[in-house]
Symmetry: C2
Amino acid sequence: MTGVERVDPAAPHVLASDLSATRGDGVFESIGVFDGRPQAVEAHLARFARSSAMLDLPAPDLDAWRRLVADAVAAVGDEPQVLLKLIWSRGDEFDDRPTGWLHAFAMPDHTAEHLDGISVVTLDRGLRSDVAETSPWLLQGAKTLSYAVNRAALREAARRGADDVLFTSTDGFVLEGPNSTAVALLDGVLVTTPPALGVLEGTTQGDLFAWAEGRGLATAVRATTVDEVRRASGLWLTSSGRLLAPVVRLDGAPLPVDVDLTRDAVAALRAR
Amino acid sequence: MTGVERVDPAAPHVLASDLSATRGDGVFESIGVFDGRPQAVEAHLARFARSSAMLDLPAPDLDAWRRLVADAVAAVGDEPQVLLKLIWSRGDEFDDRPTGWLHAFAMPDHTAEHLDGISVVTLDRGLRSDVAETSPWLLQGAKTLSYAVNRAALREAARRGADDVLFTSTDGFVLEGPNSTAVALLDGVLVTTPPALGVLEGTTQGDLFAWAEGRGLATAVRATTVDEVRRASGLWLTSSGRLLAPVVRLDGAPLPVDVDLTRDAVAALRAR
């Protein structure tokens, strides 16, 4: 990596011909930093490299990114909740080199969502659950900069009076949220969707499962149908910023919330 | 529109937190300029406005964009082949105003593709042909900045030794190219796919059809199956820069080329 410098985020630093801006052609990660501790850095960097490979981007220099994360964490000081956005773009359309940047900014507090939960609607992603295998050019499972559909889905949720979205496959399986991983409590087991179904491997979900297993709670990575999840004993959307948001309504129908489990898990995830 | 200024494209003008660069959240158009004449400007601007509406973006001020196009055309002088890229982004993540820019640059010459044709592979877009109606949040038919899949499809074509892609729906219909509209000659009729199937309304295809009708050639906008197109008397991919590229091979099988029609149509489209 060449030419790393610290710059003022209020000034422009991206070319108008950068393929991030003109084609959403790149990948990203969002790392949460709570009370100065960056979370799941290695899981994020591993996924950053996997996404890059899926887009045939040059491999990001993970040592350089690791140093950049450490520098950013040192720079934000005692800000309690910070998000680090790592971007790796194919670069200027008229050049042959990728461009990358890390942007650190303060996050809003998510305590209300932890306590009150969120209302979620299911939306069809339009794809079968096997496209990651049959049609790799659809980039399902890569965390790309092409998130216009994810953001349109969130606007559709708002139109329906909901806070967030659970994407489903055309063959009836639960996928993920536009910015989150879905975790359901089914027959006493915490369950999430396998990456083979074209979803991202959740970094926060990974730590949640490790914590749950330490408490003796069983976990499983397996495909679940939407019907199954409608009868779950609990459903959460996990992500780096919000950590763990309990779903209190799915398509308008109430879902049970395990208040103690949610509170303890949020505390454990924040204390990583 | 406020704050229009002419700037050096070699200097950065986009914020690292602009949602074009971090989320592919915006729309675009590419207008060809041949020997100083911008092509299909009103069709492009109308589609720019439609795409913006589909993304719930503020409506672009078309009068201001029209002036911007005219200014850019005047500025590029007698450059023979120029592409104008118009970008309308949701803007800075930390602000509530869209950002827009127009970028003019010289295009390569496409004569070889007009004469020699291109080799194309069909690739499944993974979506049914009715998703534009059933699932508008998938943004099919909007020209968004989230083109990572389009670009991945082109890399997949290159891996298969081909030049370009014809996207198909899961229910077997012909859709469009990653950067082009498909036009087939079927039983003496020039046929293209209806926007209702989730494709862009082609600006170059529109002018091609108008020209063809003037020559007494019938045209139709109707759904076609992949099997039908494999038996076409001719197949072209139309776009603003390359204009009209005859497909000489589809998935490795040769297709007939109407050399005279291609030559005359390219000349007519260039002379608009």
